[in-house]
Amino acid sequence: MNLFAINYQQSCLQPVKHGLQSGNLRINFNHGTTCLAFKYSNGIVVSVDSRASAGAYIASGTVKKVIEINPFLLGTMAGGAADCQFWQRVLSQECWLYELRNKERISVAAASKLLANILYNYKGYGLSIGTMIVGWDKKGPGLYYVDDDGTRHSGNLFAVGSGSTYAYGVLDTCYRWDMTDDEALELGRRAIYHATYRDIGSGNSNNLYLVKPDGWKFIGNYDTANLHYQYNPVAAE
């Protein structure tokens, strides 16, 4: 039982059980995903998988779960793909307007707050968004977890989605503040690999980004099947 469930008084405020329904069969485009991000001494690593599942059907293996809000801000996608994409594009618009009006780039704190306040306004309407807003501003590296019930947390390390528990296992074991870029990227890659190995909702490939003071950089797309054989080499016969 969820002790923290909000008491919905009227039926109109019932949480929307999203998903297409045909008779008794319900297809849920659900939160099958693993997204993670962590700060370290030289930057921020953002590592996500690329699977979209609809129940037991893999709808796509090439989903872009990192949304590029602007050259200095990234957002990850977990939950409803349309919700994440749409609202993060709205966020891009707001960030750009902020920059035009104030002649300076928006801070990560302000950007994540704008999104969190928008989502809070839609609380109870069935939006499904679990995102991390990542960027670099004049206060340094910024990492915020924002979700559809209006939560907004700042932190050094987050993993979101159905595979997050597996990712946390790897991250919490190997995470250190002092890492080189390569060590940090390898940690991000490994954590996603382990999540995709065990979680059915995550898989296909890993997209890696690195955020530095001069903006984010796309490091690469790594097929998790290849990663598997990389980490578990088959002995030569």
Binding site: R101, N102, S107, A109, A110, K113, L114
Partner: protein, 258 residues
């Protein structure tokens, strides 16, 4: 009677263009400002100063309740010239906006932002039905997060500009001409220099005496902004110094003539 029917009484715009392109209501508002008591603002090297003319209070009036300088946030202060009641409304809205900005952006307002906000409200009232423009000009001083002091001035039309030194209200032209002559970045590099320049400027048009002038200083100590309204004794002492310096300059001029 429906709400809509009643509201139609306020459907007419009051500020409309004249054939030769003037907004007379705005210009009349600017006239109202010219009748208000003088306010002077100076941006120093490490501080920002506001000086206002204090109108002589009636005998039975508690003059502490009449304050022409208001703190909008702990790093922004405002002085104005014009209708005091209109100022109260703007001050309230600006105070709320300062706090609201801190909440949504997790950062204090920059002076440019709050000047733009106040100017935006004023402009809205020059383009709304049933309303008249605000009859005041404001001087906004303060420090941005990056530690730099700034001075902005807004007027009833909704225009805003940044200034190094400016005056609004009665005799603002006289004071501004004085400032244009006497302002140099070196003379206001330290706090005392900036305060003395503000006092000298306002004493051009106001009778000397601590009871006729209010002076406030916004300074920033180790990144913490501090607003101080100088006590009367300090004001008197500074005015005495200025008097002495004026005497000395007059003596020198006389000596040179002979």
């Amino acid at each position: 009677i429906s709400q809509k029917y009643i509201m139609s009484r306020y459907d007419r715009a009051i500020t409309v263009f004249s054939p030769d392109g003037h907004l007379f209501q705005v210009e009349y508002a600017q006239e109202a400002v010219k009748k208000g008591s003088t306010a002077v603002g100076i941006r120093g090297g490490n501080c920002a100063v506001l000086a206002v003319e204090k109108k002589a209070a009636a005998k039975l009036q508690d003059d502490r309740t009449v304050r022409k300088m208001a703190l909008l946030d702990n790093h922004v202060a405002m002085a104005f010239a014009g209708l005091t009641a209109d100022a109260r409304i703007l001050i309230n809205r600006a105070r709320v906006e300062c706090k609201s900005h801190r909440l949504t952006v997790e950062d204090p307002v920059t002076l440019e932002y709050i000047a733009r906000f106040v100017a935006g409200i004023k402009q809205k009232y020059t383009q709304s039905t049933g309303r008249r423009p605000f009859g005041l000009s404001t001087l906004l001083v303060g420090f941005n997060v990056d530690g730099t002091p700034h001075l902005y001035c807004t007027d009833p039309s909704g225009a805003y500009n940044e200034w190094l030194a400016n005056a609004v209200g009665k005799n603002d032209k006289t004071v501004r001409e004085f400032l244009e002559k006497m302002y140099t970045p070196e003379s206001v590099a330290d706090e005392v220099g900036a305060i003395k320049l503000a006092l000298r400027a306002i004493l051009e048009v106001v009778q000397s005496g601590a009871k006729n002038v209010d002076l406030g200083v916004m300074r920033c100590r180790d990144g913490v902004p501090e607003w101080e309204i100088l006590p009367a004794e300090r004001l008197s002492a500074l005015m005495a110094e200025i008097e002495a310096e004026r005497e000395a300059e007059a003596e020198k001029k006389r000596a040179r003539k002979e």
